[in-house]
Structures are given as structure tokens and as C-alpha cells.
Amino acid sequence: MPQNYVPIFLFIALIGVLLPVTLLAAKLVRPDNPSKAKLMPYECGIDPIDSARGRYTVRYYIVAILFVVFDVETIFLFPWAVKFKALGAFGLLEMLIFLLILVVGYIWIWKKGALEWV
């Protein structure tokens, strides 16, 4: 029933109000005397070198792509699992073929070295 979802939004709204109020309340009572040293980026006490938005390893990008591929597959599996008993032998066979294709892809990316971090 749609009205069952209303309390969730009520919950989000209540927290959404509570958090800024907490931050504002803290703003009223806390001290505020920044200095140049306090406002420097934290780098273990050394003056920062270079911009923080530097290059980083391409591995993170590969992980993100793999995540999209395999997470979409999990989303396919969820409704199938819930209706598993109703789908019967045909549903089981379908999903085994789907998983087989996926596992072949998984073995391929493993062989390609996409799962190696170093």
C-alpha cells in the first residue's frame, strides 16, 4: 500500500530538519578564532605541496566499471529469487544459463588481469 511509504519520508524529513538545527545550535555556542596555521590543509605538519586533486591510479576506474556490470546482475537475480518457486524448472534453467554467461565473463576479466591490484 502506498501510504505505508509515507513514514519513511516523514523520517527523512525529521532528520533533515534535525541535522541543520544541530549545526546551527553548535554555531551559536562554539568558539570561533581561526588562524592561518589552523586553516592549512592537514599534511602531517609540512607545508602542502601541489594540488590535492592530482592523478590517481586507473584501477579505481576499472573497479567502478566492474561494479556496474555485476551489480546490475544482482538486481536481475533479486526478483527471480523471490519468485523462484513459482517459476519452476524453466526459471531455474534460464537463470543458470544467464549465470553461465556471466561466469565466462568473470573468468575472462580474471585472465585479463582486471582483478589484480598491483
Binding site: P7, I15, R30, P48, Y60, D71, L92, W117
Partner: protein, 341 residues
């Protein structure tokens, strides 16, 4: 009337959850202290029991530095995003059957929806946004590295987490957390409870547990925060109340995954019922709370025992061990259920 009851339940749940968060921090400091042959907090109140209150007051009165080089809108929004998504998932989690207060019978759950599990998974996976935005908007090297690590780790283990739940879904045939728990009532041969973990889902439980540790960035998967190399990771540049929000989000997430583990694998609130009627009404809540306490203790115990993974070990554990194991568990469960039917 419905809205009013919901509002009362929301306020009670929020107070309970925030108290639980505050006292799980106390529990962690105390238990880790004793594991390391120290006392933990002892000064504020008996057994340091008022320590969470003192910490809260301190967070409120600390100077809150907003460094000039940050991207301010996202820098302020990120901790709030983290907390909102960490707390919201409790809205669909049931903590017991239903209870009668003042002639009104109401389920012990804020929103009784039939896709509860999907909502919990959806909301908890939104938590990665808070961390990624915090790291990026801070404009500091440690923060960026921490948030990159956290994002990659959380998305990697989310797959194993999702796959480990499919076995449970096949057994119970429902997304509703309440129905999943109801399907686990009763016993085998009169003494083994029909929890999913005893119905052949113990491998799934193991995968879920590992993935949940990684999702909540706890030791041995706490690389995003690795104090010895990244200072504090994505929240290096945060102070005072905003830092406290990240802290709250982390512990609220721990409580959420503990709730989910109890509901899906350990039979939720099922347990022996005895005594007068009012006690029978309240006992399920106590059994459920006991399970969550057990999980929190396990978290802390492991934190006090294990060292941290290396990053390549973390990634290969998730992708090369947990993922194929989860697929195998899913196929075997499906085959067994199909053969039985």
C-alpha cells in the same frame, strides 16, 4: 491517526537509535580497553557510563574549522548525507511482532512495506555518496585517497553482500523483512531453531558478515580510515559536529547491518516465550536486542584482535574469493530448493 502513530514511533526509534549509537561507542572503548589490558573510560560517571554525554557536549562546544580551500556546499552537505542515509534504513526494520499500547495495536516497525529488504539495501548503498563527496570536497590529499579507497571497497563488497542474500530470498520468497522472519519460526526435531543459518545458509551468513564488515569500514577492512597512513581518511579535514556526524553514521551503519543479519539469518526476534502476557509481548524485543548486542560485541572483539588488510589483499579477497563463493552458494541453494520441491 496513522500519521500520528508513525510520528510517535519515529521519535521513539530515533531516540533509541541515537542512544544505541552513543553507547556502542562507549562499549567499544570499554571492551577494546579491556582487551588491551586497560580500563577504558572510567572518569565520567560510574564505569564511565556518562562518557557519551560528555563526548556529545564536547563535540557541540568545539571550534568548527571550515578550511578556505574546500568546496563549501558539498563539504557541509556530505556529513548530513552520510547520517541521513545511515539512520533512514532503520525505518523499515521491524524489531518485534506488534504491541498493544493504550488499546491501539501497532506493529513494531515504522514503515511496514513489502520490499523492506530492497529499501534497506538501496538506502545503505547511498551512504557511499556522503563519503565520496566528503573526500572530494575537502580538497586534501588524505581525504581524497581515503574516499577513493572507501568508494572502491564499498562498491566491491556490495556485490558479495547482495549475492549472499539471494539464498535467503529463495528460501523465504519475499522481500518483506517481517515475512522473512516469520518463515524462520519453529524448530527442527524440537530443539534446533529453523533459522536460515541452520537451513543451509551458513556460507551465505559468512559472506554477509565479511561483506558487512567491509561495508561499514571496520577493522580488518578499515583501509579508508587507516590511521597510520591516512590519518583519518575522508574525514581528516572535518572537526566538531560535522566529524561527530560521520562518527554517528558509522555506528548507525553497524547497527543496521547487525539488525539485517539477525533478521535474515538468525531468526529475528524468535526465542523462547514464557511468563505473563505482558512479558510475552516484550520478550521478542529483548531477544532481538540480544542478537544485536552480540553482533556489536563481535565487531569490537574482531577490532581488538585482527590487524588490517593490505589494499590488494582486500580487493582480491572481495573479487576472487567472496564473489565466486557467493555465486556458488546461490546456485547450490537454488538446486537444492528445486530438488526438494
Amino acid at each position: 491517526m496513522y500519521a500520528l502513530i508513525s510520528l510517535v514511533k519515529i521519535v521513539i526509534a530515533l531516540v533509541l537509535l541515537l542512544t544505541a549509537v552513543a553507547y556502542s561507542v562507549w562499549l567499544e572503548r570499554k571492551v577494546v580497553g579491556h582487551i588491551q589490558n586497560r580500563w577504558g573510560p572510567t572518569r565520567v560517571g560510574p564505569f564511565g557510563l556518562l562518557q557519551p554525554l560528555a563526548d556529545g557536549a564536547k563535540f557541540l562546544f568545539k571550534e568548527d574549522l571550515t578550511p578556505p580551500y574546500v568546496y563549501k556546499p558539498l563539504y557541509i552537505a556530505a556529513p548530513m548525507i552520510s547520517v541521513i542515509f545511515a539512520l533512514t534504513s532503520i525505518a523499515v526494520i521491524p524489531i518485534g511482532n506488534s504491541i498493544t499500547v493504550g488499546g491501539i495495536r501497532t506493529p513494531l516497525q515504522i514503515a511496514d512495506v513489502n520490499i523492506g529488504l530492497l529499501i534497506v539495501l538501496g538506502i545503505t548503498s547511498m551512504g557511499v555518496y556522503g563519503i565520496a563527496l566528503a573526500g572530494w570536497s575537502s580538497n586534501s590529499k588524505y581525504s581524497l585517497l581515503g574516499s577513493l579507497r572507501a568508494s572502491a571497497q564499498m562498491v566491491s563488497y556490495e556485490i558479495a553482500l547482495g549475492l549472499s542474500l539471494i539464498g535467503v530470498l529463495i528460501m523465504s520468497g519475499s522481500f518483506s523483512l517481517r515475512e522473512i522472519v516469520d518463515a524462520q519460526g519453529g524448530t527442527f526435531w524440537g530443539f534446533i531453531p529453523r533459522w536460515n543459518i541452520f537451513q543451509g545458509q551458513f556460507v551465505a551468513f559468512f559472506i554477509y558478515l565479511m561483506a558487512a564488515f567491509a561495508e561499514t569500514n571496520r577493522i580488518p577492512f578499515d583501509l579508508p580510515e587507516a590511521e597510520t597512513e591516512l590519518v583519518a581518511g575522508y574525514h581528516t579535514e572535518y572537526s566538531a559536529m560535522k566529524f561527530a556526524m560521520f562518527f554517528m553514521a558509522e555506528y548507525a551503519n553497524m547497527i543496521t547491518v547487525a539488525c539485517l543479519a539477525s533478521l535474515l539469518f538468525l531468526g529475528g526476534w524468535h526465542g523462547p516465550l514464557f511468563g505473563p502476557a505482558w512479558l510475552q509481548e516484550l520478550l521478542p524485543i529483548a531477544w532481538f536486542a540480544l542478537r544485536i548486542f552480540g553482533f556489536l560485541f563481535l565487531y569490537i572483539w574482531i577490532r581488538g584482535t585482527l590487524p588490517r588488510f593490505r589494499y590488494d589483499q582486500l580487493m582480491s579477497f572481495g573479487w576472487k574469493f567472496l564473489f565466486p563463493l557467493a555465486i556458488a552458494n546461490l546456485v547450490i541453494t537454488a538446486l537444492i530448493v528445486a530438488l526438494k520441491a
